[in-house]
Every structure is written in structure tokens, then in C-alpha cells.
């Protein structure tokens, strides 16, 4: 379980996170929803210790993050984390060199799944394919938790569909996933849990299926209620 406890973060004078708390379970897809600039990316970065916090604490399976955690949790940002002049093969080689949890079999499977040519240079890829390479490099790690920043934004419809398929496959199964999005759109059915963020705080944390079952409300209905109050 990932526990985010009362985290606070300022950029200059501006408070971005004013005490955000939520949890994300293993084996579930948790979605952070909020408008752009609400600090979703900052939360993911903070979980990975890529940016310092002013207050609060984040625990992964009960422990603060350290160097060993990176074999258990990975982050797929919305920009590429490999050198552009590398080929996909070289990028995979790099991952294999540095991570013991790298799973080449899974990587090959993902290559097929996304129909990527491993000899192509990363800088020559389309936006959709770049996003897929990014996903590939993250998902081929045998980690318990995967964080994805806006995996669906700014890419073409077909890539979107292919990426959505990842979420219903064994590639994600049994892992804990946190994704961020500013528009829930067609991924409603993929989510287990929704965390709504507004003005630096969690305004609501709920199970998508429970909202439908108990209140007959879609995720968007709940959002409408929360944001239009």
C-alpha cells in the first residue's frame, strides 16, 4: 500500500499541496483527478522522492522510500526518461543493466503489444509511440507499484485505445497503479478508486464501483457534485 499522509508543498510562496492524504492499494487502479496545475504530478514526484516536501510523509508498504524501493515502484512520467539518441533496444539494455527486476520477456511482449520496432531511434518516434516506449520501459519492470502521469493525454485515439488495453491486461494485474488525469473520459470503467483533488486538498476519495452501486452515480456525477459545490 502507498500511504500519502498530510503532504504539503510550496513553489515559492504558492502552496500547491496543502495537506494531501490518500492511500493506494496493491492490485487496484487508483486515479488522481484534478484540473491542470492542481499538483497531481507533484504528488507522483514526491512519492518517488524526486522533489522535496515541506511537510508530511509518504510510506510504501509501511516504509519511507529508499534506493531499494526503486526495484518495487516505478514512475512513468509524461516525458521520456531516456536519451533521445538511443534506440529502443539500447534503452532496454540500459534498463536491464541497472534493474534486477527488469523482465525482458515482458518487454518483448510489450514490444509486440504496441507494435514497436526495437531498432528505431527514440527521437524519431511519434508522440503516441514515444508514450508507448515510456510505458514499456516502466511496465517491463517487475515492480509492485506503477505510477503513471497522464498516460492518455495528448496522444492519438488509437494509441489511447492501445494504452487503455494495457490496463485490462495481465501487465497491470496484481500491481498497484496510480494514474493521474485531468479528464476521466473513456477510462471510467478501468478504475477501482478515485481521488479528487482541488485547491491543494483531497476533496473526495471513493471507490468507483461503490459510488455506482450505492448511489447510482457515475464518477463524473460525483465529480460534478464535488466541484460545483
Amino acid at each position: 500500500m502507498i500511504e500519502v499522509k498530510e503532504i504539503e508543498k510550496r513553489y515559492g510562496r504558492k502552496k500547491i499541496l496543502k495537506g494531501v492524504s490518500f492511500t493506494a492499494e496493491k492490485g487496484e487502479i487508483t486515479c488522481l483527478i484534478g484540473i491542470n496545475g492542481v499538483g497531481k504530478t507533484t504528488i507522483l514526484k514526491a512519492i518517488m522522492a524526486l522533489t522535496p516536501l515541506h511537510k508530511g510523509q509518504i510510506l510504501i508498504d509501511g516504509k519511507p522510500i529508499d534506493k531499494h524501493s526503486f526495484e518495487k515502484i516505478t514512475f512513468i512520467p509524461d516525458s521520456l526518461t531516456m536519451l533521445p539518441h538511443m534506440t529502443i533496444n539500447e534503452a532496454m539494455e540500459f534498463m536491464k543493466d541497472f534493474y534486477t527486476c527488469w523482465n525482458q520477456k515482458r518487454a518483448n511482449e510489450l514490444l509486440g503489444f504496441f507494435r514497436l520496432d526495437p531498432s528505431s531511434r527514440i527521437s524519431s518516434l511519434s508522440k503516441g509511440n514515444t508514450a508507448k516506449v515510456n510505458l514499456l520501459l516502466g511496465l517491463a519492470l517487475d515492480v509492485d507499484y506503477v505510477l503513471m502521469d497522464e498516460p492518455f493525454s495528448g496522444i492519438d485515439m488509437f494509441s489511447r485505445e492501445e494504452i487503455a488495453n494495457v490496463f485490462t491486461s495481465h501487465l497491470i494485474e496484481n500491481r498497484g497503479v496510480i494514474i493521474t488525469t485531468h479528464e476521466i473520459g473513456d477510462i471510467e470503467h478501468l478504475l477501482d478508486k478515485v481521488v479528487l483533488l482541488d485547491d491543494g486538498l483531497v476533496t473526495k476519495e471513493f471507490s468507483a464501483e461503490a459510488a455506482r452501486e450505492n448511489e447510482g452515480k457515475s464518477v463524473i456525477d460525483v465529480m460534478r457534485e464535488v466541484y460545483q459545490k
Binding site: K67, H68, F70, T74, L80, L83, F98
Partner: protein
Amino acid sequence: MKKYLQLVNFEFNRIVKLFTVLLGITFVAQMIGVVVQSRSYLNLANEKMYKEMMPQAEFLESFGQMSFLQIAKSSWFFGPIALCVAGVAFYIFFIWYRDWIGKNTFIYRLLMLPTSRLNIFFAKITTILLMTFGFVAVQLIMIPIEIMVLKAMVPNEFRLDLGVMEVVTSIPELTLIFPSSIMEFIFNYGLGLLAVSVLFTGILFERSYKWKGILAGLLYGALAVVVLLLPLLLHEFVLNNFFYPIELLVLEIIMGLLVLSASIWVSGFLLKKKVTV
């Protein structure tokens, strides 16, 4: 340790292009220097001896023999060395900033590697050292080759042959790069390593705290200089030449190690707790 070596290998591969280009420029420019300097000397000799009918002995007396020093003092020789020095100086900064700037955010990957983040620091500083020693070593190989070309161009009687050591030790600027004693080597390159470690710390301050970080970096640099000079200053101004030279040296080495450890510790802390992507 294995991850550190992998990182060094990786970082070095990233500069190999720049490195070879600079070496290529150095080699070509210095070769041109050898040819140009030799030619102009020979032209001068021709002019004096055949047009003005100056006897060879008189020519050698008034213009001297051609030696490698004339080449080594020309900008054909020094220019590329300065370029390499500038290259290293530039790369000290670029080796960090290249991971942050532009579209690719490779720093994410580096910071998410399952290894101590200090290894990134060590790998980058090692790369700078490797680059520096690489230039120095190749330069040392180039000089004898250049001397050979000189020998082929200028006839024996017009030439004063010097060994590599003689060339290197007779130009003060070169002794900085090619120290003649072990002590000097430790001193020059130790100081260089210290400077790089302090600069790296400064860069990490900036990467952690942006504008305030620049200030913190400058303060840290100033502090490092003061600590390093402290024994000398005390010796000179407070204690009235209290120390023997050897004691002073030991003190300086201790201070140097202190500054180096402080840089490593602070950098490690910043990388682990404060740096932001």
C-alpha cells in the same frame, strides 16, 4: 560498486563524441602548427642564406636553431589545449544540466535507479577526471609524434632536439598540465578535483533551491576557499611562521580532504533529500 562502474561507463560514452572531436582538433591544429612553424623557419633561412648570402653560421647565430619550443609557444599548439580545457570546464556544468534541460528528462531515470544517488555524483566526477587525464595522456603521445614531424622537416644542423620532458618543463604553462613531480601532480590535480567537487556541490545547490541555491552555492564555494587557505593565512598573519613547511603541507592536505568530504556529504544530502526534477 558495479552500478557505479556501469554509470561511469555510461557517462563516459555520452562524452566520447565531444572527446574525440576535441582530440581531433588538437591533433590537426598542432600538426598544422608544426608544419607552419617549420616552414616559416626554413623560409627565413632560405631567404637569409640564399638571397642575402648570409653564411649558415651567422644565420644560426642571429636566429638560433629551430626547436620544438617555438612550436609549443605558438597558438597552433596552445590554442587547442585551451579549447580542451574550456571543453572540460564547460562539461563540468553541462554534465549535470544536460539531464535536466530540453525535452528528455533523463534526470528522472538517474534519480530512480536502484542505487545510491551519490553514485551519480561519483560517476560524473570520475567522468570529468577521465576526460582530463585522457586529454593529458593523448597530448603526451602527440608531442613525440610532432617532434618526429619536425625532425623530418628541418635538417639536422638547423635543429635543437629536445625530449618531451624538456619541452614540458621549459614552458611554465605546460607544467600546470604536466607536473614534473609526484607532489606537484597531487597538488595540481588534487586542487582540480577539489574545485570540481565544490562546483558540483554548487550546481546541486542550484538544482535544489534555484535562485537561492546559486547564493548558497557561492557561499559554499567561498567557505571552501577559506577553509583551504586557513592554515596558510594563520601561518602567515597570525602565528608568525609557526609551521615547518612539511607541517603546513600536511595541514593543507587535511584541509583539502575536509573540503572534499564536505562536498561529497552535502552533495549526497542534496541529491537524496532536496534535489527536484
